[in-house]
Each structure stands twice: as structure tokens, then as C-alpha cells.
């Protein structure tokens, strides 16, 4: 299983998590972990997810999540976990 990291950054508002989770469920992406915090007044959420079961290509999921973020006025990123592992772990 290759894990992916989804981050959502923006002004807090009702329904952000709901919309993201709905999208992920519709595309058969399994959520493994969720954490969130407020940094400098901004809502920061991170999900660790498994996108291996999705029929869509990783690139397509990434682009659609980005668009979903724009529709809510926040920034959503889907990234492969390796970038964080390589930079943050020895």
C-alpha cells in the first residue's frame, strides 16, 4: 500500500471535512488517519489516505481535489507520502 497525504488549508467553515470525505468516499479512497489544528488563524487538516483502490489516476484525484478546494475557498493538496518521509526521517 502506498500512502498519500491530503492537506486542507483555509479559513474554517462548516462542511469542509464533510465535502472532502464525500469526495474521497465517492472515489474509493480510504482514510487512515485525520488530524487538524489552527495555525495563524487558518484551519489546517491532514489526512493520511490510501488511494490504491481508486479507479482514477493519482494525477486526476490531485487535480479534482485542488478544484474542490477552490470551490470552498481553501487549498487542498494530495501528495505522495514519500516526500514527507524523505525530508523528515533519516
Amino acid at each position: 500500500m502506498s500512502k498519500s497525504i491530503i492537506t486542507v488549508v483555509g479559513k474554517d467553515q462548516v462542511g469542509i471535512i464533510a465535502k472532502v470525505c464525500t469526495y474521497l468516499a465517492d472515489n474509493n479512497v480510504n482514510i487512515l488517519d485525520i488530524s487538524q489544528t489552527i495555525v495563524d488563524g487558518f484551519f489546517n487538516m491532514m489526512m493520511i489516505a490510501d488511494a490504491d483502490g481508486s479507479e482514477k489516476e493519482f494525477k486526476a484525484l490531485s487535480a479534482e481535489l485542488e478544484d474542490l478546494g477552490k470551490s470552498m475557498g481553501c487549498i487542498i493538496k494530495l501528495q505522495r507520502e514519500e516526500i514527507f518521509n524523505s525530508m523528515q526521517r533519516i
Binding site: 488530524s35 493538496k77 524523505s86
Partner: protein, 454 residues
């Protein structure tokens, strides 16, 4: 498992501190494109490059998307053309034909620069190398994406002063040929001492003859990230400062290593090296000069600048070497003037001179880089500047380079505009005492005593 604060830190580096991978450079050997007929050589070269590199840009873009990390440039380096054209090029015009072929291939695969229009007359110059060097002004002015480099010396063999003298002339002629665009051809031409075979950065990238058929080399970047880290310890002593830079350089380089491995895997081409160089851009917050000033210098160029750069360069290497399995290329801090807004500001404030930059090149990776000088500087003076820089490299057993632009029609106080990543540069004053008799001697400066290690 990765936690939220680590994810926020990494993404802040990308979004706010200009962290990126500066280049994925695909090195391609053209050794088996040699033939007796120039047109056959051109066809073979075009076919080889467009086949080997057909997926380069797409692979780079896929990696960008999947990791959300910008990869600014996708580029190609090839075997020095001075060698490839040796058996077929009968004139400089034949070499220009090869340059135009390379340019077409670069456009076809979508890379913004292709390096390797190069010659290596480190000790002596072959007839073919002389033809290539003579063709550089025409080649660079009739192509868009070709970069040229010439190796003029090494610690092992000394400095080829005949070639140094010739390059003063070639740089001047290249400037004249492109005087309508502020002598922009000279931004694509660099001379080296101790030239590395695996440098992924332009204008000096070429695929050395010691290399395999094709190889992926990656150049990282991240001056903004280092600057941010330096700012986080404003009053700390040098031990803490050094440690902070080293830790940050480790993270930056790991990113390069990851991208290099991914690109290598996806293209089925072996991974060569990660180049640790901190490469600035004209973007605000992406400056080497800002790091030096962040360490406590009022302006880059102030006394203490060389020490600050030495510390920076060393810690970047120490962090980077642990982060990557193979380190190579130039690997140090770049100090180009035109590509670094902080350097430009320092020059305009009168803090930074060519002489101080020369001192700085003794302890960092590259040399006098992207420096604009008055267009009326004689070619022997340009050769003199080159000879000094080659001597620094030769004696200190390190790579040094000169990429200098005599801007025709402009003088100290004016500004030259090159556009894009190349930026703009204030014209800097040059020492006007003559080097003519010195350069006119010709011949070769013998290798220094400490090259005899066998």
C-alpha cells in the same frame, strides 16, 4: 507515522520559501553518433536525443503533480560536441549545423536548455576543438536553447593559456553578435577549470566521456529555505548557526534525492548524482545574498562576506552529503549576480565589486557568474579575468568558472536585461590596467606542485 507539523513544515518550505527542484538534467551520450559525413551526424544526433528524452518533460511534470513540488527546469546535457564533430566537421559552419540540430531536438522534446556545445582543450587544443570554439559566436546567436562551455585548465595539467586568450576573443565576438539583446549570447557561455563531468546546471552542463549512455542528474535549490532557517536563530553563535544550516540542507537534498530516484525509475535511466548547489533566482526571497545578510552583514560584500559564504557552503555540503547516496556536479553555493536580487542590490549599493566576488569564488562552488561588464573592455582583459579564476581553481583543486558578459554599448551605471531566469544585471566596473602583454605570451601554465600525488 508522519505528523501534521512535519507536513505543515514541508509544505511551508514549498509554498512560502521557494523550495523547488531546480533541474532534472538528462545526460545523453552521443559518442556513437560520430560519422564521416556531417549530415549523417546531425541526423543521428537528432534521433538519439528525441528518442532518449521523449518522456523527460512529461515525467518531470508527473512528479511535480504527485509530490506537489515544483521542478523548474527539465534539461539535457550531451557529450562535448567538440569530440562528436571531430571526424566530420570540416569548418566552423559545420559545427553551427550541429548546434542548429541540437536546438531543433531541444525544442522537439520541450526542454528549455541543452548543454554540451563544448570543447575540453584543458591541456592542448585539437583542430576540431578550435573549429568548435571559433563557431561559438555564430552557434549561440543562431540558436535559442543551446549552452556552450569550454574547459581551459585543471589542477592535474595546468592552464591552457592559448585557449584562455582565444576565449577572450570568442566572448567578445559573441557579445558583438547579440548586441541588440544586451549581448545575451554570453549568458549561455561559460569557461571552466576542473570542469565536472556530471554537472546538471546550465550553462556548464555536459555529459562527460566517463559517463554511461544516459543518466539522470538532479540539481536542488532552496536559498529561501536556508534564509528562513538562518532567520530563526538571529542571535545564536556560529556553532548553532552552522548546525541549523546543515539540518536544513539535509532536508532540501533529500527532496532532490527522492525526485532523482523517481525520475530514474520512471524513465528506466540510471540515477547519476544530486548536485547540492544552492541556486538562487531573481525571485524575492530566493537569494544567496539574503542568507549572508541574514547572518549579520549589512550588505553582501562587507568584510566578513567570504567567511559567511565559507560557512554556508561547508554546511550545505555536510548536510547534503548525508542526504544523498551520490553527490556530484558543482555542489556549493552559486553566487551569480544577475540571477540574485540581493547580489544586484549589493552591487548597486556599492558594497560588492568584482574583486570581492573573486575572493568569494575561492571558497564556493562556481566562480564569476553572470557578471555584466562594460562592452568596451578589451578581450585581453577578459582573458586576464579568466586566467585569474582558472588559477584559483587550479591551485585550490576545485571547480571555478567564468560567465561574464561584456555588454556592447553599455557602461558602468547602466543595466543589462537578459529576461527570465537569467534576470538583469548592473554593469560592474573592471580594473582598467592592461593584461595584454601577459596574455600575448601564449603557451601553458604548468600544473601546480600539489598535483603530483602519484
Amino acid at each position: 507515522m508522519i505528523n501534521l507539523s512535519e507536513v505543515i513544515e514541508t509544505n511551508a518550505m514549498i509554498e512560502k520559501e521557494n523550495l523547488d527542484v531546480r533541474t532534472i538534467t538528462l545526460g545523453i551520450s552521443l559518442l556513437d553518433c560520430m560519422a564521416d559525413d556531417i549530415n549523417t551526424v546531425c541526423t543521428k544526433i537528432y534521433d538519439r536525443i528525441t528518442k532518449k528524452a521523449e518522456n523527460l518533460v512529461r515525467t518531470g511534470e508527473d512528479i511535480e503533480r504527485e509530490y506537489a513540488i515544483p521542478i523548474v527546469n527539465k534539461r539535457i546535457s550531451v557529450t562535448p560536441i567538440g569530440i562528436i564533430g571531430a571526424s566530420s566537421a570540416a569548418s566552423s559552419e559545420d559545427y553551427v549545423k550541429i548546434a542548429e540540430t541540437l536546438d531543433r531536438a531541444a525544442k522537439e522534446v520541450g526542454v528549455n536548455f541543452l548543454g554540451g556545445y563544448s570543447a575540453l582543450p584543458v591541456k592542448g587544443m585539437t583542430k576540431a576543438e578550435r573549429l568548435l570554439i571559433e563557431s561559438i559566436p555564430d552557434a549561440l546567436s543562431s540558436t535559442e536553447r543551446i549552452c556552450s562551455s569550454v574547459a581551459l585548465g585543471s589542477t592535474k595539467v595546468g592552464i591552457n593559456m592559448d585557449a584562455v586568450a582565444l576565449m577572450g576573443n570568442v566572448i567578445k565576438r559573441s557579445a558583438e553578435k547579440t548586441k541588440d539583446t544586451d549581448s545575451s549570447a554570453c549568458t549561455k557561455l561559460v569557461v571552466f577549470c576542473n570542469a565536472p563531468d556530471d554537472n546538471p546546471f546550465m550553462a556548464g552542463a555536459f555529459h562527460g566521456v566517463t559517463e554511461t549512455d544516459a543518466v539522470i542528474n538532479v540539481g536542488v535549490s532552496g536559498p529561501g529555505v536556508i534564509k528562513h532557517a538562518v532567520d530563526s536563530v538571529p542571535d545564536a553563535d556560529f556553532g548553532v548557526l552552522a548546525e541549523t544550516i546543515k539540518r536544513t540542507a539535509f532536508k532540501v537534498t533529500r527532496l532532490g534525492q527522492l525526485v532523482a530516484q523517481e525520475a530514474s525509475k520512471r524513465m528506466g535511466i540510471p540515477f547519476g548524482i544530486v548536485d547540492l548547489s544552492l541556486a538562487p533566482t531573481p525571485a524575492i526571497g530566493d537569494s544567496i545574498s539574503d542568507i549572508l545578510e541574514g547572518m549579520g552583514l549589512e550588505r553582501t560584500g562587507a568584510p566578513g562576506t567570504t567567511a559567511a559564504l565559507a560557512l554556508l557552503n561547508d554546511q550545505v555540503k555536510k548536510g547534503g552529503i548525508m542526504a544523498s547516496s551520490y553527490v556530484g556536479g558543482l555542489s556549493g553555493a552559486f553566487i551569480p549576480v544577475s540571477e540574485d536580487q540581493g547580489m544586484i542590490n549589493a552591487v548597486n549599493a556599492g558594497a560588492l565589486t568584482i574583486e570581492k566576488l573573486e575572493a568569494m569564488t575561492c571558497i564556493c562552488s562556481v566562480g564569476l557568474d553572470m557578471i555584466a561588464i562594460p562592452g568596451d573592455v578589451p578581450e585581453s582583459t577578459i582573458s586576464g579575468i579568466i586566467a585569474d579564476e582558472m588559477a584559483i581553481g587550479m591551485v585550490n583543486q576545485k571547480t571555478t568558472a567564468v560567465r561574464i558578459i561584456p555588454v556592447i554599448g553599455k557602461d558602468v551605471g547602466d543595466t543589462a536585461y537578459f529576461g527570465g531566469l537569467l534576470g538583469y544585471a548592473p554593469i560592474m566596473a573592471v580594473n582598467r590596467f592592461s593584461s595584454e602583454r601577459f596574455i600575448a605570451r601564449g603557451g601553458r601554465i604548468p600544473a601546480p606542485v600539489h598535483s603530483f600525488r602519484n
